[in-house]
């Protein structure tokens, strides 16, 4: 433990770690020193002058260096001037007065100064009700204005910094929290100050404006209504909103969120989600969210939501009762016997997946995970171990990122890995092209697409990089699916797992393997026993298929064709999709906002989400629908109580052993303290009162014998002379089912692109920005050319889920 320091604040004794700032020390003992520019996650700058306090220090004799004593205690010498609590670190014997006349006068003065330029348009301000300046004005400010000028500064009130964040220049108090968040925490220095003095203004420095996937966080930590999101701007008053704990379902990080809801005339009096806010979990997302998580929640309210079960009659889908629809599905699945196939995605909860897996186990069917990635059985074996926390990693931990662009695939992991590297962790990035994380890496390894596993194996051979890797006591490997399909990622995963296992970096805290999955609960599916499949078309063709939470028809023409030739198709989903259109039975499922459940993050943390809005139509929770079908098939599954399903799950699956809903809802004290009455300290992020979740155990951590065998991947396709090797890459903002309904993000989604090396483009006679035709295996699509000189000439990058069905590396023809 670090050295502790004892000081006195307003007569109260505080013992806090050495190096703590006075403002934070006060917070730790329940004393709120008002702040604007200070934020416990940011380095102090002492700009706003709000936290002025009187600080006294034990006096030392200049000659002897000894304390000067007075009445048996060290004499305290107060500085003549007030000091900022945010920039002064605690010292033993320090005496701080936050409420003395002098201090109060200083704080009052700062509020008065701020208000001379602030418009006081609280009645129409989005921040009103949760505004630090408003709160501190009520507490410390003068009641009357002495600034008797009608020419109070008037500035632009609607300045788009980008399409997601608006700046109200009048309201800005120049605290620079947003600028400092972007440069110090996010690593995207895309906003800054322009001009000086009273003309100082925030501007966007990037094109497109505010080009960062973390921009929404600035509106949380903005202590006034200067930065608002285009999504919530003029949307509601904070005090009208209800709050419910949830988990973001957009990627495997599992950020803790709070859904703010209210009834709304615009929605016919329905309760709707008005905004998604971060909920503190220092072990997962701290107090941050990426913009996809914050803004891509609209699908749950999409007009295309399914509300009633449907059965195909005379070629058309027609409304049916739950009983009739589930009975029809069950009859067909029974009839199919061994040809019964379940295809489920990681959008589902652990309980949903568990019921599906149990159904397949108790019938003659097979269950597949709808995913382009493999290796989840290995993450379950080698961990990461319980207690893993990027927030605590630093010197002594090696972090390897292979075949993944974390900024695009799991932004909050990017942010946390970056910070761990800045704290001294050895970051090794292996990727065929440049990614944003390279900048923070101790070592960057470039390999050719196809040589992923070899690049990982090389870390086990003697080299400068492997020395650095092995020198670190702990090691975490994150692997993704950049340029890989199922077979390729299986091979990389095995290489990673073997590297970790051979060097005993498994099963312990801050050790093990993490899959950068496509969906929120892919890891949960693997834990429960699902596998992904390389050739999905083959396993679907001619079968009776139960598709849950997936849209293979839209994703891939090959799969669409396979399903055309299916015997029977039942589709269970939240929304109408291309796949529901070809279904024989359509079963409407509840959105995650309408129900409860648990998800397993990529870090193998199981976390609960809670219902926030009423159910749409007659939709049911997935686990419940599955149970109804199962009952018709003679299999009894729990279909009413989701916590009971979880109890059965934790009894059946070893890594879940001992877990239950009560344990998952436990919280522990976290630092910084956020979300209470004093929004000025941590911002508008929510305090976590509904559960921080629990890590699953790993087989290696349970002391089980683990052996890892190398998996060879299938040979990559060899492009012919007039072809390129196209590889799939992942984009944060894609055309996924859950993203498209968020219209705000359309500008960022953009068009389907193909990235080529400049020489390859020249060979093809095409230029950047030009639309080309890309064809392979019966796929023919248009894409806009982008140039990337960090890739090799024979390679083309095709983003997934952008309208071109690419699941694995393929040889493609590109024509102007």
């Amino acid at each position: 433990m670090s050295k502790q320091v004892t000081l006195t604040i307003d007569g109260k004794q505080a013992t806090v770690p050495d190096g703590t700032y006075v403002a934070d020390a006060a917070k730790m003992v329940g004393i709120d020193i008002p702040v604007f520019c200070h934020h416990p996650k940011l380095e102090p700058v002492g700009m706003c002058r709000m936290c002025l306090v009187e600080i006294g220090r034990p006096m030392r004799d200049r000659a002897t260096g000894q304390f000067v004593m007075e009445n048996g205690a060290p004499k305290i010498q107060f500085m003549p001037k007030l000091e900022t609590a945010c920039t002064n670190k605690v010292e033993d014997g320090m005496v701080v007065m936050t409420q003395s006349n002098k201090a109060v006068e200083g704080q009052r003065g700062t509020v008065e100064f701020l208000l001379t330029s602030h418009p006081l348009d609280c009645p129409v301000c989005d921040k009103g009700g949760e505004c630090p300046l408003q709160n501190l004005t009520m507490e410390h400010g003068p009641g009357k204005s002495r600034f008797i000028y009608d020419e109070k500064l008037h500035l632009d009130k609607m300045v788009p910094l980008g399409e997601l964040i608006y700046l109200d220049r009048e309201r800005c108090i120049q605290c620079a929290r947003c600028i400092r968040f972007q440069s110090d925490i996010a690593g995207d220095s895309v906003i800054g100050f322009d001009e000086r003095g009273r003309s100082t203004q925030i501007i966007s420095l990037s094109d497109p404006g505010f080009d960062s996937v973390f921009s929404g966080n600035t509106s949380d930590i903005c202590p006034v209504g200067a930065l608002t999101t285009a999504d919530f701007r003029f949307g509601a008053r904070p005090w009208e909103l209800d709050a419910q704990a949830s988990i973001c379902t957009q990627c495997p990080v599992g950020c803790n969120t709070t859904l703010n809801t209210r009834r709304e005339a615009k929605s016919g009096g329905d309760v709707v989600v008005k905004r998604v806010m971060p909920r503190q979990n220092e072990e997962v997302n701290e107090i941050w969210l990426c913009d996809k998580g914050r803004f891509a929640y609209h699908y749950a309210e999409s007009k295309k939501r399914l509300t009633k079960p449907q059965i195909r009659k005379d070629g058309k889908l027609a409304r049916a009762s739950w009983d009739a629809a589930t009975k029809l599905a069950a009859d067909n699945f029974l009839k199919a016997k061994k040809d019964f196939v379940i295809l489920a995605s990681g959008r589902l909860s652990n309980e949903d997946l568990f019921n599906l897996k149990t159904l397949s186990d108790h019938s003659e069917g097979k269950a597949y995970l709808y995913s382009n990635m493999a290796g989840g059985e290995l993450t379950s074996l080698v961990g990461v171990g319980a207690g893993t926390n990027f927030g605590k990693m630093g010197a002594g931990t090696a972090i390897v990122v292979v075949a993944s662009d974390l900024y695009e695939e799991a932004p909050i992991w990017y942010l946390r890995v970056k910070q761990a590297a800045q704290r001294g962790a050895t970051l090794i990035v292996l990727n065929p092209r440049e990614t944003k994380l390279d900048k923070y890496a101790s070592f960057v390894v470039r390999y050719a697409y196809g040589d992923e596993a070899k690049a990982v194996n090389d870390l086990g051979k003697k080299s400068k990089i492997s020395d650095a890797f092995l020198k670190a006591e702990n090691a975490v490997v994150l692997y993704g699916s950049e340029g890989l399909g199922v077979s390729g990622s299986a091979s990389v995963a095995s290489a990673c797992a073997k590297l970790l296992h051979d060097n005993e970096r498994v099963g312990k805290p801050n050790n093990g393997l993490i899959g950068v999955w496509e969906r929120a609960n892919d890891q949960g599916a693997w834990e429960i026993g699902f596998n992904s499949e390389e050739d999905l078309a083959k396993v679907l063709k001619g079968k009776s298929v139960y598709i849950v939470g997936a849209d293979p028809v839209a994703d891939d023409p090959k799969l669409a064709k396979a399903l055309e030739g299916a015997e029977f198709v039942a589709v269970q989903d939240v929304m109408e999709t291309a796949t529901t259109e070809i279904a024989d039975v359509v079963l409407p499922a509840q959105a995650f906002t309408e129900r409860e459940g648990t998800l397993t993050s990529g870090e193998r943390r199981v976390q609960r989400f809670y219902p926030a809005v009423p159910v749409t139509g007659d939709a049911k929770a997935d686990f419940s629908i599955t149970s109804q079908i199962a009952r018709h098939m003679g299999v009894i599954l729990e279909g009413t109580s989701i916590s009971a399903v979880f109890d059965i799950l934790s009894d059946s699956v070893k890594s879940f052993e001992g877990l239950n809903y009560a344990v998952l809802a436990e919280v522990k004290p976290q630092w910084p303290i956020v979300g209470r009455g004093d929004m000025y300290y941590g911002g508008t992020t929510y305090e976590n009162t509904q559960g921080m979740g629990v890590h699953l155990s790993a087989a290696a951590g349970r002391g089980e014998k683990v052996s890892i065998s190398r998996v060879e991947k299938e040979a990559a396709p060899r492009p012919k002379e007039n072809e390129l090797l196209a590889v799939p890459v992942t984009k944060l903002y894609d055309r996924g089912t859950t993203v498209m309904p968020a219209e705000l993000l359309h500008e960022r989604i953009g068009e389907a692109t193909i990235a080529l090396h400049p020489d390859a483009a020249q060979n093809l006679g095409v230029e950047a920005g030009q639309t080309v035709n890309v064809s392979f295996n019966g796929v023919s699509a248009e894409a806009v050319v982008k140039l990337d000189d960090t890739i090799s000439v024979g390679v083309a990058l095709l983003p997934r889920s952008m309208g071109i069905a690419i699941r694995e590396p393929v040889a493609v023809k590109v024509k102007a």
Partner: protein, 416 residues
């Protein structure tokens, strides 16, 4: 008496390397590098009593001895931002006697173990920067700057850097920020530059004039230097005299010279033979010294004595205000300057100077009331002791002393 700093006034062409060397130039630097230990150099400067000429008057040798020897590399930075209104001495030194300044900078660099040193010039000094670049190149060609000087292991490079036109960049930490390519805004102190300075490394920052004093001190010794000036303030100072005097300009005089001597003996007296009403001894950052008694003009100009009449010597840019001037006009001008130059980093200065300028303008325009004068004084006092850096503090000086010492002028302005 021959000039010690403004030697170009006595010796033609001393701004050429040959002439400078012929007159003993660069011997002190060579001697220091080849024959002295760095701390011995610092000790000489310490013993000389030399105090910083940028305004604060901090003992130079003591500052050098604060350099953190646990952290490397070290840097030395010359503050050539010269932006205090009424101050124009550094420009004359650099134009007229550049090598003495550069030699002083080089000696300081050797004393603290810096191998790279910077001259930060205000943006308007772009011609001067090019001129200094030539002089630096000449010194390099002649073996006085560069690798392994005089056959020792000591190497030194000097670079010039231009600011972009902000008064605040004369504040040492804002200067460092600007030098690093960031916005020119002051840093929170502590840590002070000798511990954490340029690029986070220990750094010594001194004013141009301070460095220019170093070669003669090294040549003639600490005792020689101390024999000039007063016990409190050793040596000579360049006084920049301006305002309502007949002969404004730079005057190099020993500390302890009286205001009267400066204004009447050297400055030719007040224009139109009016009487002195007030003195701003430190440019716009000054308190307004009330000259209601002729004896005030007999005050000795050194750091300690000027304090006894309610002012600070600062950079010794003496602005003389005669009885034709209403102090509310001076205060209005001063506040407009500070409002324009406030960097905007801290609330107190950003909003305080903005508010004060509204009030001074209203008062000066004759639309104010007595209550406005009281409020102006109150706002200035509300700022005092609460700003991030000295700029904000200094902005209140003229207001507070102006109203407290020349209240009649304000009363007249609001009644008129």
């Amino acid at each position: 008496m021959a000039h010690i700093l403004l030697r170009h006034r006595d010796i033609p062409d001393i701004n050429t390397l040959n002439v400078y060397k012929k007159n003993g130039g660069l011997a002190a630097f060579k001697n220091a590098v080849t024959k002295m230990q760095p701390n011995e150099v610092t000790d000489v400067v310490k013993n000389s009593g030399l105090r910083g000429r940028g305004g604060a008057g901090f003992p130079t040798g003591m500052k050098w001895s604060f350099i953190d020897n646990k952290s490397w590399p070290h840097y030395v930075v010359a503050n050539a931002d010269e932006s205090e209104p009424g101050t124009f001495k550094d420009r004359e030194i650099m134009e007229g006697n550049p090598f003495q300044f550069l030699e002083g900078l080089a000696i300081a660099s050797y004393a603290v173990g810096a191998n790279a040193s910077y001259i930060y010039l205000r943006g308007e000094f772009w011609e001067l920067a090019a001129f200094l670049d030539e002089k630096i190149a000449e010194m390099e060609a002649d073996g006085y700057l560069g690798e392994k000087l005089f056959g020792t292991d000591y190497s030194l490079k000097i670079y010039t850097h231009l600011g972009a036109g902000a008064y605040i960049c004369g504040e040492e930490t804002a200067l460092l920020e600007s030098l690093e390519g960031k916005r020119g805004q002051p840093r929170v102190r502590p840590p002070f530059p000798p511990s954490v300075g340029l690029y986070g490394k220990p750094t010594i920052i001194n004013n141009v004039e301070t460095f220019t004093n170093v070669p003669p001190i090294m040549t003639n010794g600490a005792d020689w230097y101390k024999s000039m000036g007063t016990a409190d303030s050793a040596g000579v100072k360049i006084f920049s005299l301006s305002g309502r005097v007949r002969k404004p300009g730079n005057y190099e005089l020993p500390f302890g010279t009286t205001f009267r001597e400066l204004i009447y003996t050297y400055g030719g007296g007040v224009q139109d033979s009016r009487s002195v009403k007030a003195i701003m001894p430190a440019g716009a950052s000054s308190s307004l010294i009330l000259v209601d008694d002729e004896k005030i003009l007999d005050t000795k100009m050194d750091y300690a004595t000027v304090r006894t009449i309610g002012g600070d010597l600062g950079s010794a840019s003496v602005i003389v205000i005669d009885d034709t001037v209403s102090i509310d006009w001076i205060v209005n001008k001063t506040i407009h300057f500070f409002r324009h130059e406030s960097c905007g980093k801290c609330t107190t200065c950003r909003e305080g100077t903005y508010w004060m300028s509204h009030l001074t303008e209203r008062i000066h325009d004759g639309h104010g009331s007595t209550a406005d004068v009281d409020l102006l004084l109150n706002v200035a006092k509300q700022m005092q002791g609460k700003c991030l850096c000295a700029l904000g503090e200094f902005s209140t000086m003229a207001v507070v002393t102006g109203i407290e010492r020349f209240r009649k002028d304000f009363d007249k302005a609001v009644k008129a």
